[in-house]
């Protein structure tokens, strides 16, 4: 009887440890696998060459990732510029001013925004944002655009990132102790001054971190962006022109990657690039957040 109990104990113990180790090792395994797949490409070109070259002709064996990297950064930055102020303001309103009733309404709103699949945002983007860019925004800036552009990508991406960043900001603002607010108020600050000097200032590392994590999230988002961004290989500074971010590159060409030599290696290298960049950003900013939470 006892031995049976012992055996089942051993088994479940091993299972638990194995599961946890597996999950923790996952990024390492993914990294190694992608590295092996991209090794052929890396053996022929240097890393610097791959990243900084704009020469993209897979048929001729030229793999310059610069247009894709700039597109990715451009779309990400645009989305950040749109999303960050909204998140900051909404986060402050929800934690400092909002009534209980509004908070009760906002929780499911944020949940659903966070839960809507990428493809739904994509469909909405195609239906609304793309024509809006083409017919309203482009004429406003005296330019022409098909609507499938970096700007549209930025707008759609911004909306997708809002619930993600906002959730983190709310959590961070809620950790500011009430006593701190009271202290500031009793020194003669108005409510808003207290919010400004105590809540926002005290949450500085947390705010920066959630912004950073929001950027990372935007950087890796695939389908919605791909549906509205136009997907043309060009390094452009004009947001009304089409771009071609890294994730879209991978997703768009998986079909033919086995028919052109080195193409699969190049796409896996793109995935590796995404993984490394995003994981690094996550590790750095999560570290900040963990530090502040322990305090």
């Amino acid at each position: 009887m006892l031995s049976k109990r012992k055996i089942s104990d051993r088994i479940s113990n091993g299972w638990m440890i194995a599961a946890l180790v597996c999950i923790l090792l996952l990024p390492v395994i993914i990294g190694v696998a992608l590295y092996f797949k991209s090794a052929p490409l890396l053996s022929e070109h240097t890393l610097g060459e791959l990243i900084t070259s704009s020469n993209w002709h897979p048929n001729k064996g030229n793999f310059g990732f610069w247009p894709f990297i700039t597109s990715s950064m451009y779309v990400t930055l645009l989305s950040f510029v749109f999303a960050a102020p909204v998140c900051l303001l909404a986060g402050i309103y929800l934690t400092q001013f909002a009534s209980k009733k509004l908070i009760d309404i906002m929780h499911p709103v944020i949940d659903i925004l966070a839960g809507l699949p990428s493809v739904i945002y994509g469909v909405w983007g195609v239906l609304i944002v793309v024509p809006f860019t083409a017919n309203v925004l482009a004429p406003l800036f005296n330019t022409e655009s098909s609507g499938y552009s970096i700007l549209s990508g930025g707008i759609v991406l911004a909306i997708m990132c809002i619930p993600y960043m906002l959730n983190m900001l709310i959590e961070i603002f809620n950790t500011v102790p009430r006593g701190l607010q009271e202290a500031s108020l009793s020194l003669g600050a108005s409510y808003w001054e207290s919010v400004k000097h105590v809540v926002i200032r005290g949450s500085y590392p947390g705010i920066i971190s959630s912004f950073g994590l929001g950027l990372a999230k935007a950087f890796g988002e695939t389908l919605a962006v791909m549906m509205v961004v136009g997907n043309m290989v060009q390094a452009t500074a004009n947001p009304f022109k089409a771009g071609y971010p890294l994730p879209a590159l991978i997703a768009n060409n998986y079909g033919e990657m086995l028919s052109i030599p080195m193409y699969d290696s190049a796409l896996m290298f793109a995935a590796l690039l995404l993984l490394v960049i995003i994981l690094l950003i996550n590790l750095v900013f999560r570290y900040f957040i963990h530090k502040t939470q322990q305090r």
Binding site: G179, A183, S186
Partner: protein, 273 residues
């Protein structure tokens, strides 16, 4: 600033009647104060005169409404939307619950010391300068002078003068609480509200804070919430014993502690010792 002085000059009718009754002038006069939370009557018809430049101790078991009473005095109860506060609280000739005066100016008449120190997320220097700047003082020399004076007053100057620009969070918890006191004194309040200010401190820091209170009490009206009987005996000029939202007994510490009139206080003193 001008506004404050103007108010002081005009005695309200209430203030006049108060003077006739009390031998010692009151700094705070509370009449028919009720605080309701949904489903809970926190303070029940509180009537209380708090004498000027004395230490008044609010004593009682936890949950009896001491902290709520204290927070009503500088209207921090405004923060808790679920609370409904009615009645009058007269401070400095002004019914603060129904005043038209700016609440921020009003709160500068009262310094707050909370259960644990809450240094603002900035440097030591800026912590003390915070209230001064809010008052509209811009002269850097004047601010620097005030900071030194107030830090000296709480005996912190020598400990921190070389690191005024480091974050206040780095101080020990006892130093933090003294910094909070200095910060509160800097805005030149009339009243100091202290909510169990030593409960998070070690015995050494506690006695430093108590010593400071004794030193400054001739210049300030101090309202101290505590549940430590001995602290009340050491510091109080006037003791108010509260029980479930009501004032049960009040008087000079010698009278009240030697001859408690009610069974509840007697009980409380037995358990406290």
């Amino acid at each position: 600033m001008e506004l404050v002085q103007a108010k002081v000059m005009t005695p309200s009718p209430l203030k006049a009647t108060r003077h006739e009754k009390a031998s010692v002038p009151s700094a705070i006069s509370i009449k028919n104060l009720d605080v309701h939370a949904p489903g809970h009557h926190i303070l029940k018809n509180i009537n209380l005169e708090i004498p000027k430049n004395k230490v008044t101790v609010l004593l009682g078991p936890s949950g009896c409404g001491k902290t709520t009473l204290l927070k009503s005095l500088n209207r921090l109860t405004d923060l808790y939307k679920e609370l409904n506060v009615t009645g009058t609280i007269n401070i400095d000739g002004d019914d603060i619950l129904n005043t038209r005066q700016n609440v921020a100016d009003l709160r500068q008449k009262m310094g707050l010391l909370s259960q644990r120190p809450y240094p603002l997320p900035m440097s030591i220097y800026k912590n003390v300068a915070y209230g001064l700047r809010l008052k509209g003082i811009k002269d850097k020399k004047l601010i620097a002078h005030n900071i030194e004076k107030n830090l000296r007053e709480v005996g912190l100057w020598d400990e921190v003068k070389d690191r005024l620009n480091t974050p206040a969070n780095n101080l020990s918890i006892g130093q933090q609480q003294r910094l909070c006191l200095a910060r509160g004194l800097a805005v030149k309040p009339l009243i100091i509200l202290a909510d169990e200010p030593t409960s998070a401190l070690d015995p050494m820091s506690s006695s430093t804070i108590e010593k400071l209170f004794r030193e400054i009490k001739s210049h300030y009206t101090i309202v101290l919430v505590t549940h430590i009987l001995r602290q009340a005996k050491r510091l109080a000029d006037n003791v108010v014993f509260m029980y479930y939202g009501e004032i049960i007994e009040q008087g000079a510490p010698d009278d009240i502690f030697k001859n408690p009139k009610t069974e509840k206080l007697r009980q409380y003193m037995l358990e406290g010792n």
